[in-house]
Symmetry: C2
Subunit: 493 residues, 2 copies
C-alpha cells in the first residue's frame, strides 16, 4: 500500500480518534471515579475537548486530505475509511455551529426538566421542552439530508439503514410476540424466584466468574460499579461497569453479561485498523446484538444457567432455588410490565417498537408532542393488553428523547433480531455448542462471533456483516422461532 494521500488521511483520522477516545476515558472517570464536586471542572474539560474535535472534523485540511485520495486501488476497509471520513466531515459541516450550540444548550437543560416531570408524574411539565428538542432535531435532520428526516437521524446510529425497511423488519415479529405474550399470560404459571439479600462482594465474585465465562480479558479491561451499567473504551482498554441490588442478583449478573458482550466485541476488533472508522463497531444494532446474545441466547439458556447455578451455590448464601432447572425458569420469568429496561425477552421488542413508531411519526411531522401521551397509552393497551397507569410508567420513563436521541431506539430491537440470526447460524455451524456452555465455557460461541463479526469491525456496512455471517439477508424469523421454542417449553404452551 503506497497510497501516501490515503496514509496522510489515516494519520489525521487516527489523531481525531485518539481525542475521541479521551472523551470516553473522561466519561468513564466521571461516572465511576470522579469526586462529586469535580463536575463543573469536568464540564469545562469536556467542552474544550469537544471544541478541539469539532475543529478537526470541520477543518479544510481534513476536506483536502479526503479529496486527495484516489479510491481506485483501495480495498473494502480502506474505501470505508474514506467514505466514513467524508460522512464525518459532511455531518460536522452541514450543521451550523449556532444550531449545534443550541441543541447542546437545550438538551443539557431538558434532561433535568424530564427528570422533574417524571418525579411529578406529569407529561405536561415535559411536553413544551420536548417540543423544543424535537424542533431542533428536525432542523438538524433537514441540514443533514433532503430526504426523510428520520432516516437522517437514524443513520448516525445505524449507518446505511433506512427506517422504511427497518420498520417492516421489526414489525414482522410483532404479531408473533403479542401472540406469545398473550399465551403466556393466559397460562398464568408462576416462576420461582431468587430469594435473600446478597452482599455486593459476593455478587461481584459471581460477576467476575461470569466475565471469565465469556473470556473477558482482564488485562484489557476492568469491572467497576456505577449507577447505570455501561461499557466504554475500545480494543485493549474496554471497560465495563455493573450495579448491585442486594435483593435482586439477576440485576447484577445479567447487566454484567450484557456489558461483557459489548466489551468482548470491542476487545476483539482488529488492531491494524484501530483508530479508523473501518476498525470500529459496525453500528449500534450490531453492538447490541453482541450484548443481547451474550445476555439472552447464551446467558439465559438452560445450559448456561445450569453452570451458573453451581457458581451461585459456591459464592452465595442459600438463595431459595433448589435445582438448576428452577434457576433456568427464574431467569426466564415473563411478566407484563410497563418499564422497558425491566422487560423480559418476550416483551422487550414490543416496548421498542412502540417507541420507534412514535418517534418516527414525530420526526416526520405526523404526530404532535401534545398527542404523544395519548398515542403511547393507546398503543400500549393494544400490544400489552393492559392500561398504562401513569406517565412515569409510560411516556416519561426513558431519558432518550430529552437528550435528543431520536433514531436510537430501533437499534435495540435490530440488535435482538441480529442476535437471533447469528445464534441460529452459530448453532448450525457448531453442533456441540451446548457442551461448553453448560460448563461455563463459551469459547466456541465467542470464537464464532469473533471471526464472523468482531474481526470484521466496520470493514463493510453493518447489514452486510450480518448477512455474510448467516448467509442471507437478516429477518426476524430466527429470533421469533427461538423465543417460541424456548418459552413454549418453559411455559408449557
Amino acid at each position: 500500500m503506497s497510497n501516501s494521500a490515503y496514509d496522510d488521511l489515516i494519520a489525521y483520522v487516527k489523531t481525531t480518534s485518539s481525542l475521541e477516545e479521551i472523551g470516553g476515558v473522561l466519561m468513564w472517570d466521571q461516572e465511576v471515579m470522579m469526586p462529586r464536586k469535580g463536575n463543573a471542572q469536568r464540564s469545562e474539560q469536556v467542552a474544550a475537548l469537544e471544541a478541539t474535535i469539532h475543529a478537526r472534523r470541520t477543518a479544510t485540511e481534513f476536506a483536502d486530505l479526503i479529496a486527495a485520495v484516489d479510491t481506485g486501488p483501495l480495498n473494502d476497509a480502506e474505501k470505508m475509511n474514506v467514505a466514513e471520513s467524508q460522512k464525518t466531515y459532511n455531518r460536522a459541516t452541514k450543521i451550523p455551529a449556532k444550531l449545534a450550540t443550541e441543541i447542546a444548550r437545550v438538551t443539557a437543560g431538558a434532561q433535568q426538566v424530564w427528570a422533574d416531570a417524571r418525579a411529578a408524574n406529569k407529561f405536561a411539565d415535559f411536553a413544551p421542552t420536548l417540543e423544543k428538542v424535537l424542533d431542533l432535531k428536525r432542523e438538524e435532520a433537514k441540514c443533514l439530508s433532503d430526504g426523510d428526516p428520520y432516516d437522517a437521524l437514524l443513520d448516525d446510529f445505524e449507518p446505511g439503514m433506512k427506517s422504511g425497511p427497518l420498520l417492516e423488519l421489526l414489525s414482522s415479529i410483532r404479531p408473533g410476540l403479542t401472540e406469545l405474550r398473550g399465551a403466556i399470560a393466559e397460562k398464568g404459571l408462576t416462576m420461582p424466584r431468587v430469594l435473600g439479600r446478597h452482599p455486593a462482594e459476593r455478587q461481584m465474585a459471581v460477576a467476575r466468574r461470569l466475565a471469565d465465562a465469556f473470556s473477558y480479558d482482564w488485562e484489557a479491561g476492568r469491572l467497576d460499579y456505577s449507577v447505570h451499567p455501561f461499557s466504554s473504551g475500545h480494543n485493549n482498554d474496554s471497560r465495563i461497569t455493573t450495579r448491585v441490588a442486594e435483593e435482586d442478583v439477576f440485576n447484577c449478573f445479567y447487566s454484567t453479561i450484557h456489558e461483557i458482550g459489548h466489551a468482548r466485541y470491542e476487545q476483539n476488533m482488529p488492531l491494524d485498523l484501530a483508530g479508523t472508522p473501518a476498525g470500529k463497531y459496525a453500528s449500534m444494532g450490531v453492538h447490541e446484538s453482541q450484548s443481547r446474545m451474550a445476555e439472552n441466547q447464551i446467558g439465559r439458556s438452560r445450559e448456561f444457567t445450569r453452570w451458573m447455578f453451581h457458581v451461585m451455590e459456591q459464592e452465595l448464601e442459600p438463595f431459595g432455588i433448589e435445582t438448576p432447572e428452577e434457576l433456568y425458569h427464574a431467569a426466564n420469568r415473563v411478566e407484563t410490565g410497563f418499564i422497558r429496561t425491566e422487560a423480559d425477552e418476550v416483551h422487550y421488542n414490543l416496548h421498542v417498537l412502540l417507541r420507534f413508531e412514535l418517534e418516527r411519526e414525530m420526526v416526520r411531522g405526523y404526530l404532535d408532542v401534545k398527542d404523544l401521551e395519548g398515542a403511547w397509552n393507546e398503543r400500549f393497551l393494544r400490544d400489552f393488553g393492559v392500561e398504562v397507569p401513569d406517565a412515569a410508567h409510560g411516556v416519561l420513563q426513558d431519558v432518550h428523547w430529552s437528550v435528543g436521541l431520536f433514531g436510537y431506539f430501533p437499534t435495540y430491537s435490530l440488535g435482538n433480531i441480529y442476535a437471533g440470526e447469528l445464534y441460529a447460524a452459530m448453532r448450525a455451524d457448531i453442533p456441540d455448542l451446548d457442551d461448553g456452555i453448560s460448563k461455563g465455557d463459551t469459547s466456541a460461541a465467542m470464537g464464532w462471533v469473533e471471526k464472523h463479526v468482531h474481526k470484521r469491525a466496520h470493514e463493510v456496512p453493518p447489514e452486510q456483516i450480518i448477512s455474510d455471517a448467516v448467509g442471507h439477508k437478516p429477518t426476524g424469523e430466527p429470533l421469533l422461532a427461538y423465543l417460541k421454542k424456548k418459552f413454549g417449553d418453559i411455559y408449557d404452551l
Copy 2:
C-alpha cells in the same frame, strides 16, 4: 473589569488549561486504573492531546491576544496572567519542534536504559545515554535564554528563581546539617521500631483518618493505591494516591500525609482564578513546602504522633510500640542511608544539595558525565561520612536525569526551607497551635496556610508569597533551628 482584550485572552488560556487538566486525568487513570494492555492506546491519546496543547501555545492567535492587552489597569493577578501567558508562548515557540520531538524521543527510551543500568548496577551502561539527554537539555536551555543555561531550566519549576542565590540559600544550611548528622551518629542511640505486618485495609483505615486530620475534602478528591504515591488534579478534583508495605506502616502513613499536603494546597486555590496561571500553584518549591510541612513539621511532631498513636491502637493489631513518646521517636529515627527517598529530615537536604550542585555543574558545562560518578561518591563521603557502596545506591538511584529533569531537585530543599519559615511564622501567630494538633485537628495550621499561601495561588512570584507570609526574605535559619531543637531533644545532644 471591562478590559475585553484581557477577557478574550483569559478565555483562550482557560481552554488550554482545561486540556492540560485532561492530561492530568489521563495520567492518574494510567497510574491507578488503566488495564495493563491499554498502554499503547494511551500513548497515542496523550500524544494527540499534547499536540493539541502545543498548537494552542504556539498559535499566532495566542500571541495576538496577549499583545492586545493593555496591562496598565490590571491588578497583580491579572498582570501575572498576561506575563505567564507571554512566558508560555515564548517557551513553546523558542524550542524548535525538531528539538522538542528529539527530547521526547530520547527521554522516552532513556528511562528504560537507566532502569536497566540500575538493575545491572553499572553507571557506564547509562552514561552515554545521560550524555545525550544532557546535550539536548543544554540545547533547550540555549534556545530559552542567552544567560545561564541552568537558570533557564530551573525557571520552569521555580519561576523567577536564579540558581546563584538559590545555591547560596541551600548551602547555608549545609554546615549545620552535617554537624547535626555527625552528632547524632556519634551518640549512637537506637530508636524504637514499629513491628508486625499490617494488612492494607487496616493501614488504609489509618490513612483515611490522617487525611481527615488535615481536613482533606473527600467530595473534591479521592485516595487510591499506586506504585509511587502522587497527587494530581486541581481545585475541586484533587486526588492522591498512596502505597502500602505491610511491614512498614510509616511508608503508607507519611506518604499519605505528604500527598495530602499537596492536595490541600490544590483544593484551596481560589476558584475565581481557576484555569489561569495566577490561580495555579506558585512553584514546585511552594508546593513542596506544603507537603513537607504536613508530613514533617506537623505529621512528625510529638503532638501529632501522640494522636496518631491512639489511632493506630484503634485500627491496627499490636505494633510493638507501647507509648506515644516511643512512636514519636520511631517516626523520627535518624539513620545515615544512601537513598534520598528514604532519608530522614536531617539527611534529606544533604542528598538534594549534592544532586543540585552536580547537575548545575553539568548543565553549565563544568562537569562531564564521565566524571559524574566519581564526583558523586567523593561528595557523598564528605557530607555523609560513609562510602557509597555501588552505583545503584549512588549516582543511579534517581529517575530524574534520565527523563530530562534538570533544575527540579533544588525545589525539594527550597520547599523544606519554605516549610521551616512558614511553620515558624505560624507558631508565632497561633500560640495554642499544638492543642489542636495533639487531638488530630490541624485546622488552625491549615487555616493559616490557606490564608497566607493557598488562597494567593500564583498571584505574585513564589518568593514574594513566602516573604509576605513570614514578613521577611526567606532564609534557612528557621528550618535549621527547628531541626536542631527537635533532634537535639530526641537524641539528647
